[in-house]
Amino acid sequence: MADTRFVVSSSPHIRAEEDTRSIMLDVCIALAFPLVIAVYFFGLRALTVTAVSVAACVFFEWAYRKLLKKPSSVRDLSAVVTGLLLAFNLPVSVPYWLPVVGALVAVVVVKQLYGGIGKNFLNPALAARVFLFSFPVWMTSFPKPQPGQWNALPLWGPVDVVSAATPLSFLKHGALPADAYNLQDLLLGQAPGSLGEVSALMLLLGGVYLVVRRVITPRIPVAYLGTVAALTFLFPKGDAAPLEWMLYEVLSGGLVLGAVFMATDYTTSPVTKRGQWIFGIGCGLLTVFIRYFGAYPEGVSYAILVMNACVWLLDKISLPRRFGVPRLTRFIRKGGGKA
């Protein structure tokens, strides 16, 4: 037996199979549910807008790291996820340059300038969306879904926006969008809204997939949706029945998309259990607050971005109980590093 060199490295010597790439792939799969329904309701343009957004994100991710001579990170698929989420947050009628600008903001400004995956403190897709609100003409005109009409919107050239009022704009004024869209429409996605946010059902299915695959725990979505549900049930606006009001609030706008896919973003959410609960509840409180008292009907993006900025603080104040130290002592000998 010849002695050759063996690799000597520190334990552990085995690793779980999941890596960043496989996790991001799972997120892409989960996002395919709402994408499919978006294509069904908005036609092929939903697909092309998404493709442009993804391609732009991947390109900027690659180009930035190439220019700075850093190892490429395209393989980890996180840019693909950002691209999908960015597209999902845009109206399907936006001109194609808009997602490209969004991608630049998301990938270069919000993500890479802070050091890349895991280092940014704001959710890239959301930050880009909020930036793009500086183009309100395109960002606030939502075409009406037309099931099965593949060519409902032209693939090329300017889109004649048949702008329709979103359910949220009704809610904003304290009225249920009763005649326009019923709850079933909201669940399936038959109401106007951003490309990927219209079908609560598909988004929830994607969320279930992520939970089953253990990509996320249900803590943040449950805390978020539960808080919004509780608040809107307790304080319905106008004279709607509380339960109905609550369901409309929960199912419309970007809430489910935000709760399942944006608030659970690893980099910009807490890692501790208690931190995640607080984070979800905070998102819920802010969302309802902004929807009720803000100028714009939607509150999800701002709520999540604000909570993003508190993540390190949340983690710090929610350190798990030290092993072997009862909860009470923890308060008496606060945090103590020594035994």
Partner: protein
Amino acid sequence: MIFPFQGGVHPEGHKDATRQKPIEPLPPPARVVLPVSMHIGAPCEPVVKVGQHVLLGEKIAVSASPVSAPIHASVSGTVAAVEVCPHPNGGRMLSVVLENDGADAPHPDIRPFGSAETLTAEELIAVVREAGLVGLGGAAFPTHTKIASGLGKVDTLIVNGAECEPYITSDHRVMLETPEEILGGVRALMKIYGLESAVIAVETNKPDAVETLRRTLPRRGDGVRVAPLATRYPQGAEKQLIRAVTGREVPPGALPAAVGAAVFNVDTVASIHRAVTTGMPLLRRVVTVSGSAVSNPKNLSVRIGTPLRAVFEATGGFREQPFKIIMGGPMMGVAQHNLDAPVVKGTNALLAFSRGEGKPEKEPVCIRCGRCVSACPMRLLPVYLYHYEQKNMLAECERMRVSDCIECGSCSYICPGRLHLVHSFRTAKQKLREARKRGGN
């Protein structure tokens, strides 16, 4: 079934290669290398000279320290050298090298002491000490020291048959093949502590061991019960096991006795019985030889001091050139670079991997997924510890209790960003120790 502790991971077991293979005795090698330290605590001093003839079981190195275990000749023969040799912990250490005369002539002082029933608690502890027993689960803490630290405090005796590391089946085979000896050892320990009951804890992935131990019980042990544990790594870690069996948590920096518990590995317990009934000190131990590069994985009973090379050769050598050799399990074991290093008291497994398993990681990047936090059985936040260690912010590491880390490797195992988390925490602890030393005491 006992509910598990919090945290932990589920690495694939890989135990099928050897779980059905009875323990085979490996003939003693021509030369054994016995390092003066194979335990936690003070190293021993050699008490033999080059050229001297020694008998099987004769003491060749001792220490007066209370935290130490004497070392015995594992073959009879001549002292060929007392010199610095490779040690499986990666360094080199003073060792006694014995030339085997093949006679296995035992030392005349070696004779049975009787049984747990006939000896007093003090006599039993003395037997354990003289036999050079250490924890055989890998930690190698001197057994008599552990016993002494718990006298008068222990109300729960736990025998650790969890064997939660992948690949290793040595304890499993001991439970299947010598349940009587385990029960004998349990009786001895119960007598020492003056206890009426004891728990043998076994993971549910070894149903045959649970079955065998239970079948052996009625004849011998009142008060001894077998507790199946959920299969989860690191179930066999002392603090986690105590928590799973008793619900008690050992405070930071304290010994298990602080919560009235004492934990002994199954093979250690069986060795106590053998030391009492035969008078033979610890000369051999069971080693699982496995991994993808091993031609014929086996469980072997090996003389302590046998070079690793000889052990691998006994299993038919390597199927392909190994890429990595590990002493112990893949989660906490130590990578080996020299096949001349010997089997020591704590060697429960020798694994050889061909490329593919344990391959080196590409550039590590943390995505803040929090998996390490959920996996940490000590409820630490590895992601933050790592961040602070990388930035050399040691005070923060200390505040986030890096000292509590048991180096189980769960966090590194699960990390999708492939960070070298445990390695970073070892570094942090090391730096903190140095800083404290410089701090002037």
